[in-house]
Symmetry: D2
Subunit: 404 residues, 4 copies
């Protein structure tokens, strides 16, 4: 047997990640993939957790590593997975986030309107597939759940996919929030396949419980931490303000990056030319813009930008009940007065919103538990778990942000 090229990559979370297939190498070396180095996984969480500066590239490499382990385990248990399927599943997870733009979720809804990052991932995969002469055909089938072994898709995207396992592990590792640590290695060892569906062996129940609780904790302690929220909303408001005052002739708004295209000419239809522009975008364009706009004559824009850079963020509160209209009005008046802005612009400086989280979404896909006798139950049907009563109900919290 001829020996293929092998590469190992140090990963502080898992130790080492091994790459040993030509297609996987092609993907990793692709400029579209390398772009993910310039997109932080956790957007502004680093303003609260200074270690949380890891990238989308790192996350997708990690998810790839977990996919390798998952497939190994399943094959060790006698599940049939061909080499082609194996590589396709690995390629799909490597590429699952390729459609993320700058600061990922934080700016997702404000930068490229009405197109989800999943759709963009698929479009980019298709472009890459052409260049790779169809080597990604099966990858795309798995990614879009159009393949007769659904468990492979479920490993890529589902209640218990390697994407979630990696981001919880990685985000808790880099942020230093031990509450988010999950037993990913134990979960992987408990995976099995029954009727082509991904299931978890009975003795893995507590690890799943832990996984769902950890996810819940990461949401409230980190992803929706009030200061993180405050910083991400500030970036959103900056982008909104730029859009509002945007004129192509205003050279002080120009960033001389692909960002200009999406602020100006982009007509909302993601054709290949637009996609090529999109694939140039990264965090550096946005922060570059913010640094420039801190000197823009528009007082709201420059205020928000300089405050953002210096980490003098909105003060924010989060609570279980909505804020009263009176309270909001009072705060908005305070902002109007303090900064001398027009009432119609107050939403840039003071606003409310809702943050939600549901650790376990029963409707979507289920986590199925496989009993020794061969029966399968959704985890919410299992006796005495923490999940049914609590983790499957949505939690809403109300927040207010105010610049002071």
């Amino acid at each position: 047997m001829s020996i293929t090229k092998r590469k190992i990559i140090n990963d502080p979370v898992y130790g080492f990640i091994t790459i040993n297939d030509p297609l996987i190498f092609s993907i990793i070396e692709h400029p579209y993939y390398q772009r993910l180095r310039r997109i932080q996984q956790m957007a502004m969480a680093q303003l609260v957790y200074p270690g949380a500066v890891h990238t989308r590239l790192h996350h997708s490499l990690g998810a790839y590593h977990l996919m390798c382990s998952a497939i190994n385990e399943l094959k060790g248990k006698g599940v049939e997975i061909s080499y082609e399927e194996e590589i396709a599943a690995k390629a799909a997870i490597l590429l699952h986030d390729i459609g993320h733009g700058p600061f990922s979720h934080a700016l997702e809804e404000v930068l490229i309107l009405n197109i989800s990052h999943e759709d963009l991932s698929l479009q980019i995969m298709e472009v890459m597939n052409e260049a790779l002469n169809g080597q990604l055909n099966l990858t795309i089938q798995l990614f879009t759940n159009n393949y007769p072994k659904p468990f492979l898709h479920q490993l890529i995207s589902g209640q218990l996919d390697v994407d979630r396992m990696d981001y919880l592990s990685r985000d808790s590792f880099f942020s230093g929030v031990s509450e988010g640590v999950i037993g990913y290695d134990r979960i992987l060892k408990m995976l099995a396949v029954k009727n082509n569906q991904l299931v978890v062996e009975e003795k893995g129940i507590y690890s799943i419980e832990k996984f769902l609780v950890a996810r819940r904790q990461m949401y409230w302690q980190v992803y929706l931490h009030k200061t993180v929220l405050s910083a991400e909303k500030m970036l959103v408001k900056i982008m909104e303000r730029v859009r509002e005052i945007y004129q192509k002739s205003d050279l002080q708004l120009a960033t001389y990056s692909a960002l200009d295209y999406f602020l100006g000419d982009f007509n909302g239809k993601m054709d290949n030319a637009s996609l090529a522009q999109f694939c140039k975008l990264d965090d550096y364009d946005v922060i570059g813009g913010v640094k420039k706009w801190a000197n823009h004559p528009d007082p709201i824009l420059s205020l928000l930008c300089s405050r953002f850079l210096d980490r003098r963020l909105y003060k924010s509160s989060i609570q279980a009940e909505p804020f009263s209209a009176v309270f909001i009005q009072e705060k908005q008046n305070q902002a109007i007065k303090q900064f001398g802005i027009k009432a119609e612009d107050v939403h840039y400086l003071c606003f409310t919103g809702i943050a939600t989280n549901t650790p376990y979404q029963q409707k979507e896909e289920m986590i199925n538990i496989l009993y020794k006798d061969g029966t399968v139950k959704d985890i919410t049907q299992v006796d005495n778990t923490l999940i049914h009563q609590n983790l499957s109900t949505q939690v809403k919290k109300f927040y207010i942000c105010l610049l002071t």
Copy 2:
């Protein structure tokens, strides 16, 4: 006693960092300090070690944390340190890297010519000191070693300072290179003071040995890793090319950031106006520039920039002996031919250099070992350590980089 504001920061390396003094808060909240969030500690090492994306801000917070522990230990052993001295030592370590520019060491010699980052740190401290009405007077005395308790300066800057302890710990943590892990907590517990000099208790010898070996390993495995070197040299060559072809009128070179100032108007004298410009610079300006220059009409510049962005770096080799002139000539001819450039420009695509490392520099400052009987010896004089024979001799390695 009135209770002061306390804040804890999650740190994946040490757990939690506590801040509980108003001066320390003032420093951390200062825009100059916040700028360090936008400067990566390990420059291009992340191209090899994808986790190595932590920032100068994080490193200086970590070093501050170790300073807190060091001072606690020394006080626990009866060393007299006043509260004012304690805070000044903490402030000094927080600020020790405030003078770093984009990508720290990697660009240090090419961005701001002839001024070291230590000098810049001092200048910035002085500016901040004025704004803080002299609250940093003692800090500056400690930083510049002008205070009658030299051990406090040695904790900030010396063979065994908390700066090195943090960067080794942090860099090995984030890169996942376990060979660089040191027993910082044990070293801290072994510190003592004798005749106002920092010393290490006898039973700490093996931890020191480990510390010096780890440092050596980090140099050769990480800081001077051939691909890291290759990426950093590519960034240096990019900056050199920009300088070479720089014309103020060339708008395609303009980055519309403080970088333009240092490429153009800056006269080499760091007055306060220049310093204010410097304090706006960060990694984002440089990467923003590289992204723009990837489309510049100069073929060498655009080649280097696009290669850098896509991580298609120089191929490099490192060896113990110099490369022969014949070999270098051959490689340079290859580059000239492949890229169709002029012979005078070949140094952008193929060049050699020397990397050096000396884990223990005896001349500079010493690591003094305190014996139970009260005597003190430099660690190179101790029987049977690995240090005297090896770790104090400089190691030179020769490298060649070639674009292919």
Copy 3:
């Protein structure tokens, strides 16, 4: 200030434990304390988790370390704690388990009938206090909650004491069960005192939630793991059998250790002479006995003992519903037939029982949450936690053990 003796102890869980007070040294050097080296913390859990072989001594040192941190934090927040109180709290936690006998909880109810290990701890503290000329007076007051600063007792024994924090941390560390990891350092930083009661700051809620979930997980995954249970019940059955057939003249039952005293002469009253005997007992006596009894002519005793040594344990099942009488009868008949024993002895080879766990016992002591506005609520009253609905209801599971 004269410098007191200092000692640091390596602890893989926390790094280093510092000892720097003469009374603490006296306790640690005491033979009664050193005896705890010979008692494993997790009894037979090592038969499932081979790393779980740490000792009661190690646990109590760890709890002492957490007490040091807790007191430091509280003092840093302005809570008044005198040096005498500080040392007494540390002494009390060091000694809190001094009354444990061989294999701790596993044999607690079968070795020394009707006397709890807490009562024994108190009695032993009193004996030591006499020898130490009353230096433990305050320690005993804190341990028995007879001191006007109840928060000090709550740190020693309560819903959120350093005992639980250490055993969860340590047991999960040594067993390798990541589900039991808690954020002890964050919890410690969130502790505060209000009206002399221990409270937790509001932003610590998720860490508490995590703590309670981890505890629940350790119970079901480790402490009450069916094989661990099976091994511990086997040891209990061995002791019961020895008691049943005990005759002083049967030299094949004699262990020539203090165990003989508690099997024979002990009249159930723990006077000082009996206590002195108790303080000689450790795991080695029990295992020594089991090794000897494996050759005893009584077939049930030798069967159980040799099976225990070779780890050929009862087969066991755990379920949410009681086992039916018919099922139990069938299994018992199987055992009678297989081993040729009398029906009256079948309970040694086949038996059922109930395992229970309630992570949060509201009646007992509460975990009080301190809000920023100064109000205090029990954690079950807090909106949207996992605790009120689930963690405060007792869970019962039914098990059956059968030798095959």
Copy 4:
């Protein structure tokens, strides 16, 4: 393919250990293997490092796990290893320490005179092989280096075997001595085979360097720590004293365990009957004896035993030069006087000795480095490593122990 039984074992060092072969199950379930649960890996090191209480069973499971990884890596690189060879290598490493007696190395030379634990391992394997109908034939060939693929033996026993990799990793983990941490996973990934010999790829040099330095550090900081040495020598002296005063009729010396056989009847020839006795011996017999002998009328024996139990050990010193005869005489006189013993017995209370350590023994087996061009060099021949000058010279240290 029929699905074989699979079991996973939690290991705090490596996460999970998987067992999935019937022969491996047979070995692990064998009483001789289970006996290793009752033998601590690090003997008395726990008196200094309280966490160091892990067992020989745990170590051999860990080494088995590393063997699994090593074989996987080699197969991934195209090295041909049949399933039978794979299982044999795993079986051999599981059994490599099966011949250890109580407290392993600490008592090796005093309990079973003139027979090494390796010889005992081989003898026990042969006994097991018979019972297993020759299933261990190949295992024994590999263990004794009588098989035409020497690299398999080198993985079991050599300069860079999985035995050393595990004990360094495990001992540093449980003792909490971070200086002993090695990058075992990186070393494993760097292993290769050339001409049927185990070699290490060039880029693994620094990991090997680290491995050798870590080993050196563990020797001096842990294995030969002066207090550990002192405790182990005390146990040796206890056994020597028992042997000296041994009379079969002295029932106060009897432990009623297999220990009695080796103190009395054993004629030095390890036939199968003796071996069966040996396979009953474990730490519990020795500590059981020590507890009994603490009450023996012989004053030296009871003194040593009670001191040992209460951890009131010899005071010891270690130094680079031999102690002078005058100094030793003075100390011995002190012991004679203080304890009122005869001069001829003073060696029980005061004695000297030599501790030695050579991290890299060139004569024995070499660590061969494989260069990209296919050449192979012993690591001591590599430029600029720490190894040649230092790590291959033996270091001797002189110690003295004195009871006070």
